[in-house]
């Protein structure tokens, strides 16, 4: 079940919300559209669903152009950020709604609703109304409603953003497992790079309507196409140092902090340390720059003490300062062609 965006653009008045987007999703993939708010990821999803129309470009599902096919016939399921559960119906009726609309008979409907409810462990909630459920429970109901019809693909619009941190991590795992079980193509929108990295088979990073990079999470992490992607993905963020039109980027885990000087090590002064429990973040200043380094949990250093930084030169990325483009350097592995 392949989905393809071909040069899709969506403009409002003068502003370009989606700018010449081309993307191909393979059957069974879990694609994440990642980017800051306003980057066009939700609009892209809605265009695919048929809730918005593209100003130009084609949307294809299974090779068939669907631009003119109305929403209700596209056979896609969507999980909304607000879950959009029908408040006046019971949970069972909510989940059964897509089936009812397709005129399935009652027995059939009930059976399928039961099956899906069991899968998501919400059987006990079937006779309740949405307002009686917690956030996590509602989220599962929204998922159930999407799954029950066995659609061509799932579209998810930041489904975890309304949950508290702990629940979010838990649901993340369950979602991934579910998708693995069902094997259905999924397109997922989020601004949370951790979700993208953990859930996706491929990530499409977007900024201001333009696709920045479309690759596996690992490649995006290790071989970012430009400075924006490098900075957006990874927590804590990549460190950047400007020098003569070239920006050098190095991730915190590739900086080693030493308390004694070493050959080739850079001198730095400790700005502050943050003890995370499982590791320590060390903020250091080098000249005008401030960098973050990851150190083992036992690392201690007082503020303003001198330290030395050993940088893994093979992990340094070079970007053109003006445009942010990656500059191919002598590195092992492919040099990504930035878009």
């Amino acid at each position: 079940m392949g989905i393809e965006f071909r040069n899709v653009t969506k403009a409002f008045g003068g502003a370009c919300v989606v700018d010449d987007l081309s993307l191909e999703v393979r059957d069974g993939e879990f694609i994440v559209l990642l980017g800051p708010s306003g980057c066009g990821k939700t609009t892209t999803l809605r265009i695919l669903a048929g809730l918005e129309t593209a100003t130009s470009g084609d949307i294809l599902i299974n090779g068939e152009r669907v631009n003119d096919v109305p929403t209700q016939h596209r056979d896609l399921a969507m999980v909304f950020q607000s879950y959009a559960l029908y408040p006046h119906m019971t949970i069972a009726e909510n989940i059964g709604y897509p089936l009812r609309v397709r005129k399935l008979d009652k027995a059939d409907r009930t059976a399928r609703v039961q099956r899906v409810a069991a899968m998501l462990e919400i059987e006990s909630l079937l006779e309740r109304k949405p307002r009686q459920l917690s956030g996590g429970e509602r989220q599962r109901v929204a998922l159930a409603r999407a799954i029950v019809r066995e659609p061509r693909a799932y579209l998810m619009d930041e489904p975890l953003s309304n949950l508290d941190a702990r629940l979010r991590v838990q649901m993340r795992g369950e979602l991934k497992r579910l998708q693995h079980q069902l094997g259905t193509t999924t397109i997922y929108v989020t601004h949370d790079q951790a979700e993208a990295m953990t859930l996706a088979s491929r990530v499409a990073v977007m900024k201001k309507g333009r696709l920045q990079q479309f690759d596996t999470p690992l490649n995006i992490y290790n071989h970012p196409a430009n400075r924006f992607v490098a900075e957006f993905v990874g927590s804590p963020s990549m460190n950047f140092i400007e020098a003569e039109g070239v920006t050098k980027g190095i991730r915190p885990e590739h900086i080693q902090v030493l308390t004694v000087p070493e050959d080739g090590a850079m001198e730095a002064r400790v700005y502050v340390t943050e003890l995370m429990g499982n590791e320590t973040f060390v903020f250091v200043s080098v000249g005008d720059n401030r960098l973050i380094a990851r150190a083992p949990a036992e690392f201690r250093a007082d503020v303003d003490t001198k330290v030395w930084l050993r940088i893994d030169s093979e992990k340094v990325h070079f970007f053109e300062s003006a445009t942010g483009r990656i500059l191919p350097q002598r590195r092992n592995g492919a040099t990504e062609d930035p878009k």
């Binding site: 409002f12 008045g13 919300v17 918005e52 129309t53 003119d68």
Partner: protein, 297 residues
């Protein structure tokens, strides 16, 4: 937020079909029964039936200038509207200010106050004809008990008192409305400005003038607009109470138009007058709305 987020997209021609279908019946009904009559009215207002057949001309309109009844009716309408509006507004505002606090049994109170304005106007007319009846009406009966001579107080039958009577009836019926709308407006005003005024040392009158009144302006304008429109076109109650009489002492413009159309069957003239009334109400509502928008700006 992109604008089209608010609506389903209707960008293709096909997408416009559904809303067009939804809107068509309503638009058809209104065109047929609200707009077409106006056009029909224009046509007949420009016609005159003579022995020779139908002639076209602005005779009906020019006749207005010299028609005493017409100008009297206009004067009556203006007097009626102004007097009723003033009383209703002052009473309603006073009550609203006085009773802005929590009132126990508020629902019952509000429901009871709604009764006068929910009654069919006919019933209002009946109620007050009974109350004001010189012989057995409650008003004169009660006044007599206080020793007042009610011989000359024939209310709706008295040329001097008829206008006063009909105005009083309108005040009775619609003051609750003004009261309720202004009360709602008052209760929507937040606490903060009052607290600030208190700290600034403002007196009660000053607070009223500089805090309450400005924040109440939208409600005031709306209620004045709605009442003015209703008062200018008043018909029902006066018809029941006095039928425009005694003589023509309480004949307002709507009543005169009715008389022209359905007693004299002079439809053309009635139509001409209707347009004057329509123009009048349009101008006034436009003025009010301009005031209203100016506030929001």
């Amino acid at each position: 937020m992109p604008r089209s987020r608010r609506f389903f997209n209707a960008q293709n021609k096909r997408e416009l079909l559904l809303p067009a279908l939804f809107l068509a019946p309503a638009l058809a009904v209104l065109l047929a029964l609200s707009i077409y009559p106006l056009i029909y009215s224009v046509t007949i207002s420009l016609q005159k039936e003579t022995a020779a057949g139908i002639t076209w001309g602005v005779g009906n309109f020019t006749r207005l200038f010299s028609d005493g009844f017409f100008w009297t009716a206009m004067v009556h309408t203006v007097i009626y509207a102004t007097a009723a509006l003033t009383c209703e507004f002052l009473l309603g505002l006073g009550l609203a200010l006085l009773l802005n606090n929590q009132i126990r049994g508020r629902s019952f109170f509000r429901a009871s106050l709604l009764v006068p304005m929910m009654l069919p106007t006919v019933v209002v007319g009946v109620v007050w004809r009974l109350m004001l009846n010189p012989n057995f009406g409650a008003v004169n009966g009660t006044l007599k008990q206080f020793g007042i001579d009610t011989e000359s107080l024939t209310w709706t039958a008295s040329p001097k008192l008829a206008m006063l009577s009909v105005i009083a009836v309108d005040v009775w019926q619609w003051t609750p409305f003004v009261f309720l709308v202004l009360l709602a407006g008052l209760q929507a005003i937040p606490q903060e400005p009052y607290e600030a005024a208190l700290i600034d040392g403002s007196s009660r009158w000053q607070t009223f003038r500089h805090v309450t009144l400005p924040l109440l302006k939208p409600s005031i304008l709306i209620v004045l607009l709605l009442r003015t429109m209703d008062l200018l076109r008043v018909f029902d109650q006066i018809f029941i109470l006095t039928e425009g009489g005694p003589g023509f002492a309480t004949e307002t413009i709507s009543l005169y138009i009715y008389r022209a159309a359905f007693r004299f069957f002079d439809f053309g003239y009635a139509a001409a007058m209707s347009f004057v009334l329509l123009a009048l109400t349009n101008v006034i509502s436009a003025l009010y709305i301009r005031f209203l928008e100016a506030r929001d700006a």
